[in-house]
Symmetry: C2
Subunit: 493 residues, 2 copies
C-alpha cells in the first residue's frame, strides 16, 4: 500500500498546484485588463513548464510500477489507472516536441485571429502546415507507445476508449439518416411563423435572469460564480467553478441558453465526489461525458417545452410581456433548424453534420491521406453534401471558423456529438425511471433528472471507463439511436 | 558576468511564478465565493512551499557568491544586492520555524476574527503567546545572521536600513510635539460647524465617481482594475495592478479617499521601470516608501484644498448639489481631527500616536521586556497619555483591533508613519521645484507632482537604499520636520 499512498499525496499536491493555474486562466479570460496579456502569458508558460516538470518526475513512474503490484481495492485500482493514464500522456511525448508544438500552435492561433477576419486561407496555410506536421509527429509517438493508430491516440486524449472504428460506424449511421431528417424538418418549419423578440435587452436584466435560472438549475453560488468573457466556458476548479457567458443586448435568446449549457458543465464539476476530487479518478470522465452534461441541460432539458414553460414567467418578468414571449413562440424560437455555415451557431439537428465533416477531414489529415492544402475542397464538398451549404472561397465561414486546429487539437471535435448522444441516452434513462418527468419539469421541479445525474454520472467521476459508466447508468454502452429518436420526436412530432 | 546573468534568469522566473500567487491572492479577497476558501487555502499553502523551495535552492546562493566577484555595472550591483537580500531572508530562517510560525499565525488570526467581535482577550492570549514565542525565535535567528538586534531584524523585513536607534529619535521627537498639537487642533475645530452629507450614496454612483477620480490620477486601466473587498488593498503585479475598495452607502467620504490612497500604491507599481521590474531591484523600495506614495496621494494631495476643489464638480455631478457639498464644508469634512480608538479610522494628525504606541509595545515584546499579558495595560496607559482615550477592558477597540500581530508581523507598523513622513518630505520637494503647484492642482493638472514622483521615486524602484533614494530625491535623508510643518500648516493656519 505504501507506493499507492505516496501517489495519492503526489497527485493531491498537483491538484492544489493546478488550482492556481485554473483560476489564473479564468482571470485571463474574464478579468484581466487588455495590456496585461504579455506578462500573464509569460507567467502561464513558466508555470506550465513547472507543472509539467513536477508531473514527469521519474519517481512518479517508479511509484506507479510498484503500486501496480500492491493489493488495492476497486477504487484504488481505478485511481491508479487514471494516475497512470495522466502520467503516460505527460511522459510519452518528448519535451522538445511539446514545446515545438506549443510554439507553432501559439503562432498559428495568434495569426489566425486576423487571418480569419481577412478570409486569408493562404496566410493561414503557411503556419498551419507546421502545426499539422508536429501533430502528426505527436500522434506517431503516442501511437508507438499506446499501440493505437495515430489518430486514435489523439482521440484518446479527450475521449479515452473511443476510436475510429466505432466513430466510423456511429457517424456512418448518422450520415445515412441526418440529411434526410434535416430536409424534412426544414420543410415542416417553412410554414411556421416565428416572432423575433424586440430588444434591447440590457446586460443587467439578462444577468439577473441568468442568475435566477442558474439557481433553479441548482448551481451552488457559494462555490462558484458567473462572469463575462468573449468565449463562454466553464473553468475554475470543482471547489470553485468559474462559468462565463456573453451578452448581446439585441438578443437574449443565446445568452440564456448559453448559461443553461455552462450550468450543466458546472454542476458536473460541483458534484464530483468530494473525497476523490483531488485525485485523477475523482475528475470528470471525458470531454464527451462533460459535453453530455451541458447538452443534457441545454438540449434535452433546456430546449424542451416543459422547461421553457417552467422559466417562461421569469423571462416575462425580466423583459415584460409581448407576443414574441408567448410560450408557443418561445418554444419555436428555441427550435429553429437551419443548415448554415457556423458550427457554434448551429441548432442541435444540423450540429452533428458539422462534427462529422471535421472528423472525416482530421482523420484524413493525421492519417496522411490528404494535406493541409486539400482542406477547403474537402470542406466544401462535404458541406454541400451534408447541409447543402456552398463554402467555396468562403474560408472565414469555412475551415477558418474554429480555433481547434490552429493549435493542433486534433481528435477533440468528435466529443461534441458523442456528448449529444450520451445526453440523449441519459435523458432517456431518466424518462424510464421517472415517466412523469415532463410534468415535474414543467412545475420547475428538475430534481428527478438531477438526482439521476448525481447518482449515475456526477458522483461516478472517473471510477469507470466510459463504456462501463454508460452501461451502469443506462443499461447499455453508447447507443446513438437515442439522439436520432430525440430529434425525430422533438422536431417532427 | 555569467553568474550574474544566470541569477537574472532565475529571478525573472520567480517573478513570473509569483504572478500567479499575486493574482490568486487578489481573487481570494475580491472574487472567490465563500465556501471555496478551504480548497484555496490549501492550494495557496502548497504553492507557498513550492515557491520557497525554488527560492532557497543552494545553487542560487552559489551564484550570488560568484557574482559578487564579477565585474558589474552600477545597476547590476544594486540588482545583486537586492537578490542577496531576498535570498538571505528566505534562507536564514529554518523551514521548520517558517512552517510553525505560519501555522500558529493562521490559527491565531482565524480565532481572532471571532475573539475581536467578542472582546475575548483571554482567548486571544492563548494562541498569541505561541505566535510571540515563534516571532522571538525568528527575530533571534535573523539577528544572529544579520548582526542587527532582534527587533531591528524584523523592522528590516519591511524597511531595510531602518532601526530602533533612529525610530526612538524620530518618534521621541514626535511625542514631544504631537499631543500638544492635537489638543490645539481639537480646540480650534470645536467652533466649526461641519454638515454631514446625507445619503444614501449608491455603490454604482460611488464606483463611477471613483473611476473618474482614478482616471484623473493617472491610473492605467489597461494594466489594472478596481474591485470590492472587505479590506481594501493594492495587489496584483506591476503589469496588472489589482486595487480593491469597499463602499458604504451611507457615507461616500471614506471610499472616495480610500480610492485616492490605493491609487497612490497603484501608480507606484504601474510605473516601476519596465526593463527591471522582473528583478528584485525593479520592485518597490520598502513598505515605508510604498506607503509614502499612498499617503502622498491621500494626505498631501488628496485632502488638500486644491485637490478637493479640482474634484468638487465630479462629486456634485455624482450625488447632486447640496449645502454639505459646498467646497468649504467638503474641505472641513476631510480635515476632521478626533482622538479615537481605531487606527485605520484615524485622521492624519492622530495617526502617528497609534503607530508610536504599537512600536513601543512590539519593541518591548520582541526585546523580552514585557510579555503578551502585559499588552492591555501598556496599551491603555499609552492611549491615555498620547490621545486621552480610555481603553480599559475594551480589547476590541484596543489591542485586538489590528490583524498585524495575529500572524506575527512585528516590525511592520512603523512603516505607516515613516510613509507619512516620506510623503510630506516628497511633497515639500515638489513645492520647491514647482512653487505654483497648488494652482496647477486646483485646475486638475497634477502632472508636476506625478512627473516628480515618476522621476524621483517610481522609476528608481530599489536601485538605491532608502536613505540614498530620499537624498537624491529631496536633498536630504528622512527628515520628520516636514510632516510636523505640514500638519501645522494645514490644521492651524
Amino acid at each position: 500500500m505504501k507506493s499507492y499512498n505516496a501517489l495519492e499525496t503526489t497527485f493531491e499536491r498537483l491538484h492544489h498546484l493546478k488550482h492556481l493555474e485554473s483560476i489564473t486562466y479564468w482571470d485571463q479570460a474574464a478579468m484581466m485588463p487588455s495590456n496585461s496579456n504579455e506578462a500573464r502569458s509569460k507567467a502561464m508558460a513558466e508555470y506550465g513548464v513547472l507543472l509539467h516538470q513536477l508531473m514527469v518526475d521519474p519517481k512518479v513512474g517508479e511509484l506507479i510500477n510498484k503500486a501496480e503490484g500492491e493489493d488495492l481495492n476497486e477504487v484504488q485500482q481505478a485511481s491508479l489507472r487514471e494516475m497512470k493514464r495522466r502520467y503516460d500522456l505527460s511522459t510519452w511525448v518528448p519535451e522538445d516536441l511539446v514545446k515545438a508544438k506549443s510554439l507553432a500552435g501559439s503562432k498559428c492561433e495568434h495569426a489566425w485571429r486576423t487571418q480569419r477576419t481577412n478570409n486569408d486561407w493562404k496566410g493561414f496555410l503557411e503556419n498551419f502546415k507546421e502545426v499539422l506536421n508536429l501533430s502528426r509527429q505527436e500522434a506517431k509517438v503516442l501511437s508507438e507507445k499506446s499501440g493505437l493508430s495515430p489518430y486514435d491516440s489523439l482521440i484518446g486524449l479527450y475521449e479515452p476508449g473511443m476510436n475510429t472504428k466505432n466513430l466510423d460506424r456511429i457517424f456512418g449511421d448518422v450520415k445515412a439518416w441526418l440529411p434526410g431528417l434535416i430536409q424534412e424538418i426544414v420543410e415542416k418549419q417553412k410554414t411556421r411563423k416565428v416572432l423575433k423578440p424586440e430588444g434591447s435587452f440590457s446586460v443587467e436584466k439578462q444577468k439577473d435572469l441568468g442568475l435566477k435560472v442558474m439557481a433553479k438549475l441548482g448551481f451552488d453560488f457559494t462555490r462558484g460564480r458567473v462572469d463575462i468573457s468573449s468565449h463562454p466556458f466553464c473553468g475554475g476548479v470543482p471547489e470553485d467553478v468559474r462559468m462565463t457567458t456573453r451578452y448581446d443586448e439585441n438578443d437574449f435568446v443565446k445568452a440564456l441558453m448559453g448559461i443553461v449549457h455552462e450550468t450543466g458543465h458546472a454542476r458536473y464539476e460541483q458534484n464530483l465526489p468530494e473525497q476523490l476530487r483531488v485525485l485523477p479518478v475523482g475528475r470528470a470522465r471525458s470531454m464527451g461525458i462533460h459535453e453530455s452534461q451541458s447538452l443534457f441541460f441545454e438540449m434535452q432539458l433546456g430546449r424542451g417545452s416543459a422547461f421553457l414553460k417552467s422559466i417562461h414567467q421569469d423571462i416575462v418578468a425580466s423583459f415584460g410581456a409581448s407576443q414574441a414571449f408567448e410560450i408557443e413562440n418561445l418554444i419555436n424560437i428555441y427550435r429553429q433548424v437551419k443548415p448554415d455555415f457556423i458550427r457554434v451557431d448551429a441548432d442541435e439537428v444540423t450540429y452533428p453534420a458539422h462534427i462529422i465533416l471535421r472528423y472525416e477531414i482530421e482523420k484524413a489529415l493525421i492519417g496522411g491521406e490528404i494535406e493541409a492544402r486539400d482542406i477547403p475542397d474537402m470542406w466544401n464538398e462535404k458541406m454541400m453534401s451534408y447541409l447543402g451549404v456552398d463554402t467555396r472561397d468562403n474560408f472565414q465561414q469555412g475551415p477558418l471558423q474554429d480555433i481547434h486546429w490552429t493549435d493542433g487539437s486534433f481528435g477533440y471535435f468528435p466529443s461534441y456529438t458523442l456528448g449529444a448522444m450520451y445526453a440523449a441516452q441519459e435523458f432517456n434513462a431518466v424518462k424510464k425511471e421517472c415517466p412523469q418527468i415532463e410534468s415535474h419539469i414543467e412545475k420547475g421541479d428538475y430534481s428527478p433528472a438531477f438526482n439521476w445525474l448525481k447518482k449515475n454520472i456526477w458522483s461516478q467521476a472517473s471510477l469507470h471507463t466510459t463504456d462501463d459508466l454508460m452501461l451502469k447508468a443506462t443499461g447499455e454502452t453508447l447507443n446513438p439511436v437515442y439522439l436520432k429518436n430525440h430529434l425525430i420526436e422533438r422536431y417532427l412530432n
